[in-house]
Symmetry: C7
Subunit: 74 residues, 7 copies
């Protein structure tokens, strides 16, 4: 698939592990299950990291787009 | 039900306990009763936690989407 | 009435006392008179509390939705 | 007039003195002349107060809705 | 002209000196040349003041509405 | 050309040097090449200044409107 | 191609290295792969820099427009 828009890359990352940089400086990593145009994301097997150290396992999590800085893809 | 969009997962969590991470660093847990596309949520039997310690029981609460960071689902 | 959306619960709380958690950490309690889809609220017999202590009585007050964190209902 | 929406109360306050709580913690009081759906307000004979003390008289003032926390009505 | 909406007052202030209170606590005064519904303003002969002291003359300036707190009119 | 709206003045400044006041207190000066209704700006030969001192030359730069306070025109 | 709008310049920078100034004061450089009207950007071979020092290599990254200050183009 040709990448035309940034969301096309999220589309290709469904089912893969991604790392989200949050506005509060934490990172959330998990398997991308779903997203929408507001950059709301649904992750499975998610973990929160602060300063590179694991802080908690949160399982399935809905992340509101407005609190996301960036999403590192594989 | 197949999950297509992040909101589908909220839909499946109706009637279940969820934990909301708030922008002010508190957590609100409760039973998800209703939600809308702005991520406004209605919880029952809700409790506020700060640093993992229970701070107050607030019963039924309407939470404005714009103040939510993420929602951990079962 | 069945609750489908979070606003349905606000609708049921008309004429009842509610407690609003504000972004500035104060609480405003009062009798809910009216609301709209932006979560703008109109309260009567309203009081402002900070750290649980009453700060001032403000009577009838229009609260702009964008400054609200959550609304505890009866 | 029956109050259906919060803006109905602003409508009834035209020509009356109101007190606006601002995001920057100051208060602006004045006679409400006009408002719109963004909660932009026009006041006459307006005064700015900080910590309850009068800071300045600003006469006629246009206040942008996005900077308003709440509006106390008579 | 009857004032129905807050923008009507801006309309009447075209060509007159106004004083803008900015979110960053500075004031910008100048002659109002034009405005739009986002409260974007165009001023001529503008001056920036901080704590009541003149900081700089900036001539013609476009001010983005989202950074404005209030506008004092004559 | 008569100035009706603030954007008309940006239109007249195409090809001229402008100075942008940013929310982070820096200034970016450069030659205005293009703009849109969100106040997104494209500058050429741009320089960043902090406290009046040149910090870096950044050549051609796209500036997102939401981060702009004001734009001083010639 | 004539540049009419700021986004035209992003269009010309597809496949080229750009440097993004983020709201949190970090810089992200990378090869621009795609963008949309919200200034959401997709970069490849991206690196994060803080105070001019490389902090991490993040490969392919989706950057949410709302967290971007400016984009320096070649």
């Amino acid at each position: 698939m040709e990448i035309e828009r940034p969301f096309d890359a999220l589309s290709q990352s469904r089912g893969k592990r991604i790392v989200i940089e949050m506005k509060d400086k934490s990172q959330i990593s998990g398997v991308l299950k779903a997203f929408d145009k507001h950059v709301n994301l649904l992750l499975e097997n998610a973990e929160v990291r602060v300063d590179g150290k694991m802080k908690s396992k949160i399982g399935t999590v809905f992340i509101r787009g407005g609190t996301i800085v960036s999403v590192a893809l594989e």
